[in-house]
């Protein structure tokens, strides 16, 4: 099993006044699995705890309760460091995802430096290779992030994410801040990468259209709980839970949008 999330709880303490603290339960017993080479969609309204779940999976925060296993290693155990290579992440806010003082070449060389001892020349070659993979040319190497468009910067983030050859990538609303036409391009890039290299995605979003476009399986997330799982994307229309139905209904225009997607892809 690539990733196994077992009964995970997480709460934040919210201070009201100086001394009084209130607990805000964000995740209430979440369990699911991720297999090799699949794209798992996690969909839910904003504030439902999706990003929190993402932060637990990438190991920057610890669950209050429950365990997360990657390749059967508990990520919060002493051996948890060794699986850091297998995980990567792409955030929604691409501008704060990169250090504004770094050039593109420095941004992508950070993960390479952690796991490979390459000479300067080999590192640069590898970075050019990665940039080409995500559809950027080497003229971007010495540019600063503010000199790139949103779509280009998100491609840099994806290049950086695959630089360590991770087993899976957490994509937290990775396309949500982009224009619709750029969203399609990025989704196509992600699909292409998934075919080329053996990689899984956890695709966190509030947008059902994107889920139908790229995901193999879908989890409906509501208020810190998983309310429904769809194991075959074709069955998406047969959801039973009320919340999932509402979400689905809200996205009935998705067919219209999907048509737009297709058009833009062709053009």
């Amino acid at each position: 099993m690539l990733l196994q999330v077992e009964n995970v709880y997480k709460s934040y303490s919210k201070s009201c006044g100086i001394i009084k603290k209130e607990k805000l339960q964000v995740l209430k017993g979440v369990s699911f699995k991720l297999h090799r080479s699949e794209c798992l969609g996690i969909i839910g309204e904003s504030g439902s705890g999706k990003s929190t779940l993402g932060r637990l999976i990438i190991g920057v925060e610890k669950p209050d309760n429950g365990n997360i296993f990657i390749n059967n290693t508990n990520i919060n155990s002493s051996r948890g460091k060794s699986i850091k290579k297998d995980v990567s992440v792409v955030f929604q806010d691409y501008f704060s995802s990169v250090n504004p003082r770094f050039k593109i070449i420095d941004i992508i060389s950070e993960p390479i430096r952690v796991y490979e001892k390459l000479s300067k020349k080999d590192t640069t070659l590898k970075i050019i290779n990665l940039l080409e993979r995500v559809g950027l040319s080497k003229k971007f190497l010495s540019r600063y992030p503010h000199e790139l468009s949103g779509g280009q910067l998100q491609r840099v983030c994806i290049a950086r994410a695959i630089a360590t050859k991770p087993k899976f990538i957490v994509l937290d609303e990775a396309i949500s801040s982009l224009d619709v036409s750029i969203q399609v391009q990025i989704l196509d890039l992600l699909k292409e990468l998934k075919n080329d290299i053996d990689i899984s995605y956890i695709f966190i979003t509030h947008d059902l259209t994107a889920v139908t476009y790229i995901c193999d399986r879908v989890i409906f997330f509501h208020d810190g709980n998983i309310v429904e799982q769809v194991d075959n994307i074709e069955d998406l229309k047969n959801v039973k839970n009320d919340y999932s139905k509402n979400l689905l209904q809200a996205a009935t225009q998705m067919n219209v949008r999907e048509a737009i997607y297709e058009n833009q892809r062709v053009s």
Binding site: V60, K84, K85, V87, V89, F91, N99, V114, Y144
Partner: protein
């Protein structure tokens, strides 16, 4: 970065003014035409001449020499005060920003207390308690200001620690030293430098003010604020006495403020 610094005219001019001032202060012995403390009653209030380029004061001392020697207490002590304040503020701010819970809470409440007093009143109170003298003025200034920097740096540490690029670094297991030296420090330093430069003007004026009031640098040591104070006694008969020390303070304080503004532009990575 250096190229960007050199291209910005404001930064270039103000840094030159400050550097030249500092150099003149450092080589005061060689540059000053006269002994700053040598009084000669016959020569008092003399106009500018070859011997006294800016004339003399009420005791017949060379004003130019006093200005030059005055750089040491005025500018050097202000710089020293600023450095100590930043060092203390950074240390406490970083500790507070990285520790969660009780330590952070206690430090922040102490900062709140320090910040709840008006700063000039606090300095007067501390000087009143410890006694008159420049050492106490510096000590008081540091005590007043460190809390402000500690709070600032704490919020920066927390802000940058939650930036997505640091979350990414933590995800893939980048070493802590890389995160701190390449991500945290450059960002925090460039913000602190701007604030500190803008604050230098405040410190210079503060030290000069206290010397003007007779609480800081003591006579006969030359200091710009103290020179102003002596000049004000003869304001009605010899108003031109105010000119030299007043202008000197004006120029150096403006230079630091403009430099702060210029640095803000240069150090912003988005600025092309």
């Amino acid at each position: 970065m250096t190229r960007k610094l050199l291209r910005n005219k404001v930064v270039l001019v103000t840094t030159s003014i400050i550097l030249i001032t500092i150099l003149i202060g450092a080589f005061a012995h060689q540059i000053a035409p006269n002994d700053p403390n040598e009084a000669s009653i016959i020569n008092k209030y003399s106009r500018s001449s070859d011997e006294f380029p800016l004339g003399t004061d009420h005791l017949g001392r060379c004003i130019l020499s006093r200005l030059i020697y005055g750089i040491r207490p005025t500018v050097f002590l202000s710089l020293f005060t600023m450095l100590c304040t930043i060092a203390l503020g950074t240390l406490i701010g970083v500790i507070s920003g990285y520790s969660i819970g009780i330590v952070d809470e206690v430090i922040m409440r102490i900062c709140d207390i320090m910040l709840s007093f008006p700063s000039q009143v606090m300095i007067l109170a501390v000087v009143g308690m410890l006694g008159v003298g420049i050492n106490n003025v510096i000590f008081a200034s540091i005590m007043i200001k460190w809390a402000w920097y500690a709070r600032m740096i704490r919020s920066m540490v927390i802000k940058y620690n939650n930036k997505n690029y640091i979350l990414y670094s933590k995800t893939i297991g980048t070493s802590r030293s890389f995160i701190i030296t390449r991500h945290m420090i450059p960002n925090i330093i460039s913000e602190v430098i701007v604030l500190a430069t803008l604050d230098m003007g405040w410190v210079i004026i503060s030290i000069s003010t206290l010397s003007f009031l007779g609480l800081g640098v003591q006579a006969p040591t030359a200091e710009w604020g103290a020179m102003l104070s002596e000049a004000k006694n003869v304001l009605s008969t010899n108003p031109s006495q105010m000119l030299a020390p007043g202008l000197a303070i004006l120029i150096i304080v403006s230079a630091f403020n403009l430099l702060g503004d210029g640095l803000r532009d240069v150090l912003d990575p988005r600025e092309v």
